[in-house]
Structures are given as C-alpha cells and as structure tokens.
C-alpha cells in the first residue's frame, strides 16, 4: 500500500503535532547514545526536562500508541519486573524507533536544514574550482585515474554547492529588496555589509570565472579524463541481474559527460546562451542599485513629518464618522485640496457705469444670449452652415505678403551699400526704407554713445555708426527726421557671403 509508506508523516498534521515531534526527538537523542528501547515512564521524564509544555503520563501513553499505529515506533511487550498490582494488569510496552520512523525523522531534519538556509555566495568555491581545473590541465602524459577521478569529483561537488547556495542567496536577497519579512531597522543596519559582500563576490566572479572558462576551453582531452573517472567508478558498481560488462562504464561515462556539460554551461557561454556565471554576475550587480532604491524608499517614508500611512488611516476614520455626505465632501476639500475653483461665467462685456454700491437687485442683469435662454443652446440646431470658400482672399493675402517682402528686400539693397555715408547725405526715403532705416539706427544708437558696431538680430546686416559734427535731416514722405549727424555704414553680410 502506497499510503502506508508515507503515513509516518501523518503525525505532522495531527492535532498534537508538537508533542509527537518532541517524543520523536527524545527517541533520536537516545539512539545517538545507543539506547534503543524506551519505557513510557522514561519518555515522560525526559519530556519533563526538555523545557516544553508539561505533559501527563496519560498523554504520553496515548501519543505513543498513536505513533505505533502510524509505524513511527515499534512496540514490544515489556517483560520486566513490576512493583505494583496496577502495573501488572496494565498493558506494558517497550518502544523503539521503527525503520520508517527513523527515515522520516532524518528527512524532516534535512527539510528543516534546507529551508533554514540563507544561502551564500561562495567566492571560495570559485577559487577551489579554479585550482582543481588547473591541476587537471597540468597533467600531461600518463594520468593517474585516482587523481583525475578525485579532482573531477571535487570540482563537481564545489560547483553543486556554489550553484545551490547562489540561488538560495539570490532568492533571499529578492525578499529583502521587496521588504518582505524584513525589519526596516535591521535592513538599514545590514545594508552596508550586504553591498560590500555583493561587490566582493562580483569582483571575484569576474576574475575567476574568466580564468575558469579559459581553462575549460583549453582542456582538449576532457573525454579521456571523464572516461578514466567513469571506468574507475564502474569497477565499484555492485553486480546486478542483467548487467553486461561495459554497460556500467558507459552509463557512468554518460553521467560524467552530463556533469561536464553542466560545468561548461556554468562558465562558458555563447552569444545566445549566456553562461550561468554571467547571469549570476548580472543579477548580483543589479541587486546593488535595487538595494539602494529600497533604501531610498525607506528614507522617503521617514522624511514625512507625521506617518503618512497613519494620516490616511485617520482620514478614513474621519470620513466614516462624517455625519452627512456633504460633511464628507467638506473634509475631502480641506484635506486633499483637489477640488476645482467655481465661478459664474460671463458672456458680454461688463457695464462699467454701475457703481459698487448698487445692489444686485437694481443693477442691470447679466446679458444672456436670447437663444440660450429660449432653447438651452447657443447655436441653432439643424444642419451646420455652409463652409465659405476663402481661397480668393487667401491668394490676395499671399500676393500682398510677397509684394511686401520684395519691397523690404529692395529697401535693404538700397540702404546696405557698404559705404560710410553721413546721415545728412541720405536721399529721401520711401516709407518701407524709412522703417528699416529707423530700426537699424535704433539698434545702433541703443548701444551708444560713441562709435559702435552691431548686427541685426538675424545677423544679416552689420551697422557701423560714428558721430559727426553738425545736424542731419532725413526727408520722408511722412515728414522730416532731425538729429545729430552720424556717419553710417550698412553692410549686407548675407549678400557679402554669397557674393
């Protein structure tokens, strides 16, 4: 029956599980002292001493009977002498661990150990692997099967432990980063050491893994080595029924090849499949910024004046305690300040003639579109108005803009002669020229007084201005400009560059 094999674990989920485990612990402890048989009285006495909850003899008897039922213990009739009449009539047994019971205990022990493990990053294991690989590569000529076998075994066992520990460690680290079951204080105290630890491992990994990968690549006669180890192991295989010579060795060789490819994939990757060591390195490196981010989250939480989370919980309570819904809205507005401002809207210009002492009752009323008042809509309902074709106007506008640009261009050409000209010698200017002239003059004079050189904002024209004695008059169609005379030079930089 399949369940009878595993029913030795039944006591784990039974109501009295802790008592059962304590009893089994007593048996294991005694077995270590080579005491095999135990009387119920002895067990009760030991339980009394183990610091746990007090138990009565009756409870112990009951528990022992159960454990016997589940095959954890074996009961043998107790044929020893008794000293009272009651004892004589009571069914008496001596208990010892059954084979199943003992196996179950060992399994549980292993289980506890595995789960309790925090994992570690074994930089030392890397070094061990490297040294042994070095020994392997160093062997030339005749190889001693025993040495080869031992080296290979050691490499594999170190790798095994390195891999298992690394994955346990990274899992634990992830839980730390996610701040699951970790106290903030403990985390902050621990973080520096953790980061230093990660950094040390990463640097070891980078150096050693490269070395190891290099050696693995250089080992050309791997298969011979593996064969040596396999043959040596095959010699030890106990004879089976359908064994044929050579088969055991082949099986062992296959096993060793698997292990070797495992080692290879750990340290030697290719472009599509990065090796495990590389992945571990990436993960470890990533853990450092992740840890820093976690620290910043913690700092952020601490920086609030009061505990924000507590604030929100208090507000939840206040909302719940609000007498009416309107009160809840008041609280929402005050605490979160997310509500909109609210204003009456206005359509027409305000009448300024109303004084501030006029009552709303006497003031002119707000002008509201007659249609809105009558229908509730500004626009007339129905089909939208026909779209007016404005292409003719647009063309006219374009022509106008082009003409204006041409005129400005002409004005620029006439003014930007590149020769120094006294203002008093300027000819009569048309309006476009005059506007450009004024702008240039304004820009130059703004920098003065004295001799100045400047450029227009677009960099196209350079202006030099030097004061002269006397006065100048410039005539335009719109009037006459008078001012102190200057010598003005306007140079067209754009034309100059092109020409």
């Amino acid at each position: 029956m399949s369940h009878s094999r595993t029913q030795v674990f039944a006591h784990l989920s039974a109501p009295n599980a802790s008592l059962y485990r304590r009893i089994m612990a007593v048996f294991l402890a005694n077995k270590r002292r080579f005491v095999v048989h135990l009387r119920p009285e002895d067990i009760a006495e030991e339980l009394h001493a183990d610091g746990g909850e007090a138990v009565t003899q009756a409870q112990v008897d009951e528990a022992l009977k159960k454990l016997d039922e589940w095959d954890n213990l074996r009961a043998d009739p107790d044929t020893g002498r008794v000293t009272t009449v009651e004892d004589f009539y009571r069914a008496r047994f001596l208990y010892q661990l059954s084979r199943e019971g003992e196996a179950a205990e060992r399994a549980l022990e292993l289980f506890d150990r595995e789960l309790g493990r925090r994992g570690e990053l074994q930089a030392v294991a890397l070094e061990d692997i490297r040294v042994r690989l070095h020994a392997l590569t160093g062997m030339d000529g005749e190889q001693d099967p025993a040495v080869v076998h031992n080296l290979l075994l050691e490499i594999m066992s170190r790798l095994d432990s390195l891999a298992a520990n690394a994955s346990a460690f990274m899992g634990g680290l992830q839980r730390t980063i996610d701040l699951q079951d970790v106290e903030e204080e403990a985390f902050l105290a621990y973080k520096d050491r953790l980061i230093a630890y990660l950094e040390r491992f990463v640097s070891e990994l980078v150096v050693k893994a490269f070395d190891i990968a290099d050696m693995i690549r250089r080992l050309t006669h791997v298969d011979d080595l593996l064969r040596l180890a396999a043959e040596r192991e095959a010699a030890d295989v106990a004879p089976g029924e359908e064994d044929r010579p050579g088969e055991a060795a082949a099986a062992k060789l296959a096993e060793w090849r698997d292990r070797w490819s495992g080692l290879r994939s750990w340290f030697v990757g290719d472009r599509t499949h990065p090796c495990q060591a590389e992945l571990l390195r990436m993960r470890t490196r990533q853990a450092i910024p992740d840890l820093l981010a976690t620290i910043s989250v913690l700092q952020e939480r601490r920086s609030g004046r009061s505990d924000r989370s507590a604030d929100f919980r208090t507000l939840a309570r206040w909302f719940a305690q609000s007498p009416t819904e309107a009160d809840a809205h008041r609280l929402w507005r005050a605490a979160f300040g997310l509500t909109s401002a609210r204003h009456l809207t206005v359509e027409a210009e305000e009448d300024d003639s109303v004084t501030s002492t006029t009552s709303w009752l006497d003031a002119p009323q707000a002008e509201i579109s007659v249609r809105l008042r009558a229908t509730g809509h500004y626009a007339k309902r129905g089909a939208p108005r026909k779209v007016v074709d404005r292409s003719a106007e647009r063309e006219e506008l374009a022509a106008f803009v082009a003409a204006e640009r041409e005129q400005t261009e002409l004005a620029r050409k006439r003014l930007a002669t590149g020769r120094p000209t006294p203002l008093s010698a300027f000819p009569e200017l048309d309006p476009v020229e005059f506007r450009l002239f004024l702008r240039l003059l304004g820009e130059a004079l703004a920098l003065g007084p004295g001799e100045v050189t400047t450029r227009t904002a677009d960099g196209a024209l350079e202006i030099r201005l030097r004061p002269r004695d006397g006065w100048a008059e410039i005539r335009t169609e719109e009037g006459v400009l008078r001012g102190p005379d200057h010598e003005l030079t306007i140079i067209d930089r754009v034309a100059g560059a092109h020409g």
Partner: protein, 396 residues
C-alpha cells in the same frame, strides 16, 4: 517693429501666466499628461510667487507633478465632491476606501495590482473607529469590488496610479485583475494638510477641519493683516460669490480699505472680471477655464437651472428675504418641462431636474438650502430677465 514685437511677446507671456493660474485653480494637481502642465512649468517661478503672495498657497512643481496646495478659506461648502463620473459624488464609504488604499500605497513599492491592494486594505480595514462608524469592508461582494474600482479610477485620474495592464471591470466580476505603477511623487503631494491628521485629537468634524488647515502666522499686525488678505483672496479665487455679510468685522474693514488694489491685482493675475455690488463681490470667469460648474450653461440641465433661476430671481425681487419652498420650485419646473418638452432630454423628470438645478444654484452661491426651503441670495438677481431689448440696426 521690434517694439511692437516685444509688446506682443509681453502680452503673450502675461496671457500664458493667466491661463496657468486658471488651470491651477481648476486642477490643483497636474501631471505631465495634462495639456496645461508645460505652461505651468514654464511660468513656475512667477506662479509660485504670485500664489504665495496673494493667497499663501504654495506651489510645488517638478518634472513629474505640479501641485498647488489649495486650502479653502472656510469649510462650509459641502458641494465640492470627488467624482469619477460626472454628477456622481463619492460616498463616505468610497472616501474611506480611498484613504485606506492610499494608506496601503504609502507602504507599497513600485507596482501593485488591484487584488493585492484589496488584500492589504482588508488587513487595516478592521480599525475600531471604522467599524464603530458602521463601515465594514469585506471586499467580497461585487458591489464592494465596484467601489474599489471607482477608487482606483479616482487615483488614476489624479495620477497616483498609472495603469499598466488588466482591467478594473474584470476585477469587479472576479475574473481578473489590473496592474498599476505607483507614482510616488504624486502620492507624496496628495495631502495638503498643514498638520498631519494623525496628530489631531479633536473629535468634532469642524474642529478637525480647522486643525488640519490652520496657518501659523506671527501674531503681529502685519501677520494678522496678511491672514485677512489671504482669507479674502482665497474666497474670491475659489468661491463664486463673496457676500459682505458673511465676513467678520475685521475682514470687512480691510476689504473696505483695500478693495481697489486687491481686485486689480486679482483681475490682472487671472483674467477674471470683477462684479462689485452693494452686497458682495463676484469674480466672473469669461474663459470658463477655472470652474467645474458654469452659469449660464448649455444643455438641458444648464437650461433648466437658468429658467429656475429666473423664477427664483423674480421672487427675490418681489419678496426679498422670503424663502421659497422646494415644492413650489418643483411645480415651476413641471410647468417649464411642459413648455420645453421638445428641447429637453427625454428621460429627465421634473423632480430630478429640480434637485439638479437646486444643487447647482446652491453650489454657485446663488441660493441657500435650509431643509425644504430655498433662500435666494442677492447675486441670483443678476439672472433675472426683463423682456429682451433689441439693439443694433433697425429693420436689419
């Protein structure tokens, strides 16, 4: 030409600032997805100065969020609610849930799912204060999950959560979940309280509101004056109408002395139009950018409100200070509904429209609701209508 150009630039910049002020008044918390976010960032320094000087509200802006810590000048107004769908205000229950969700998010990391959130909220929902107030959350029923989805929608709207995958509807029906990014920067600026609510002992709601919003100002003449000025500006900027009779004596005296310059600064800064009357002041918003409710407004509800306002204003003019019964308003609305049957929404009942219109008029400071009677307030008179006078070309 350069001169003209500079003028245009100046005008442009000032208009931009006004628009940014209005945007912040309408949405005190902006995230980069909002069209006005860049505008606020552009004028950030000026805006921070302006709000600090005029109202004492602080403005915080960085690449992730722009936040005006807008604290109301008084706490009487119960018409401004959190909403996800228009016209469906949050219930106390949803508010409480939202706070629980925020309490959980405060402790969360970069990403959460709605299911995860619900689980953690359950752990803190057993708070004795909540249970005593009759709030029991199990988050097991469809209805409660729908409440939670609404809360999530609010947090998404405000930018606290950013949806990555999934769907709230699936969560409500129990067939799926939704995944969000938590925006810690927005979360950090969500509360505007001057004091952490958890440090306040008061048991009565009004005391609590005062305690969490009170400004600490030096007890000098200057400090007191500043406080009065800020109170007045906050009301003018945030509330539709400021009635003199609601002010304290000191506030009234200050306003009498300083009204001109005060209003001038506000009008220049916001682009609003000040309507000053014997009973009070209303800042009117010609752009309609800085308000969630408008008056007048298009559509059935806006129209019904406008017409009811007309009716109440006539009453106000004839019998000042005499309340109108809600029943009378409803009767008027029924008459109006008959007349405008063809124009109005088919499924709107007169009773529903009356409730909506009363809420809107109350929210806009045009009437007071006291039990079953309505007290028209002076500013309502601006919505009364005489017969329209036709101006312009005759015979055109």
């Amino acid at each position: 030409m350069a001169e003209e150009f500079r003028d245009v630039l100046d005008a442009d910049r000032e208009e931009g600032r006004r628009r940014a002020v209005r945007a912040l008044l309408r949405h005190p918390l902006l995230t980069p997805t909002h069209p006005d976010f860049r505008l606020v960032r552009t004028h950030q320094g000026w805006l921070a100065d302006w709000f600090a000087r005029e109202t004492g509200w602080t403005l915080h802006a960085d690449t992730a969020v722009a936040r005006l810590r807008k604290i109301p000048a008084r706490h009487g107004d119960g018409t401004r609610s959190a909403q996800v769908k228009k016209n469906v205000p949050f219930s106390r229950r949803r508010y409480a849930l939202a706070c629980l969700a925020l309490a959980v998010l405060e402790r969360a990391d970069g990403q959460v799912t709605l299911g995860w959130l619900a689980e953690r909220m359950l752990a803190i929902a057993g708070d004795p204060g909540l249970v005593e107030a009759g709030m029991v959350f199990t988050l097991g029923t469809r209805e409660e999950r729908a409440d939670l989805a609404t809360v999530a929608a609010l947090l998404i709207n405000e930018g606290v959560l950013g949806k990555v995958a999934g769907d709230e509807a699936a969560f409500v029906s129990g067939s799926g979940d939704a995944l969000y990014d938590v925006n810690r920067k927005v979360l950090a600026v969500l509360l505007v309280t001057r004091r952490g609510p958890s440090t306040v002992q008061a048991g009565e709601l009004h005391e609590r509101l005062v305690a969490i919003t009170e400004d600490v100002l030096p007890d000098t003449d200057d400090g007191r004056n500043r406080l009065i000025r800020h109170t007045l500006t906050r009301r003018l900027l945030d509330d539709p109408v400021l009635y003199y009779r609601e002010l304290t004596e000191a506030e009234r005296a200050y306003l009498e002395r300083q009204r001109g310059p005060l209003l001038k600064r506000l009008v220049e800064g916001t682009g609003f139009v000040a309507e000053v009357r014997a009973e009070g002041i209303a800042l009117l918003d010609p752009t309609r950018e800085a308000t969630d409710l408008g008056m007048p407004e298009e559509g059935t509800d806006g129209h019904a409100t406008l017409l009811l306002a007309d009716f109440l204003a006539q009453h106000l003019r004839m019998y000042p200070d005499v309340p109108v019964e809600v029943a009378a308003a409803r009767a008027e609305m029924e008459r109006l509904a008959v007349r405008h049957r063809g124009l109005w929404r088919k499924n709107a009942s007169a009773a529903e429209l009356t409730v909506g219109a009363i809420h809107r008029l109350d929210a806009l400071g045009l009437i007071h609701v006291r039990g079953e009677s309505l007290i028209p307030l002076p500013a309502l008179a601006r919505f009364g209508f005489g017969e329209p006078t036709i101006t312009g070309k005759k015979g055109a």
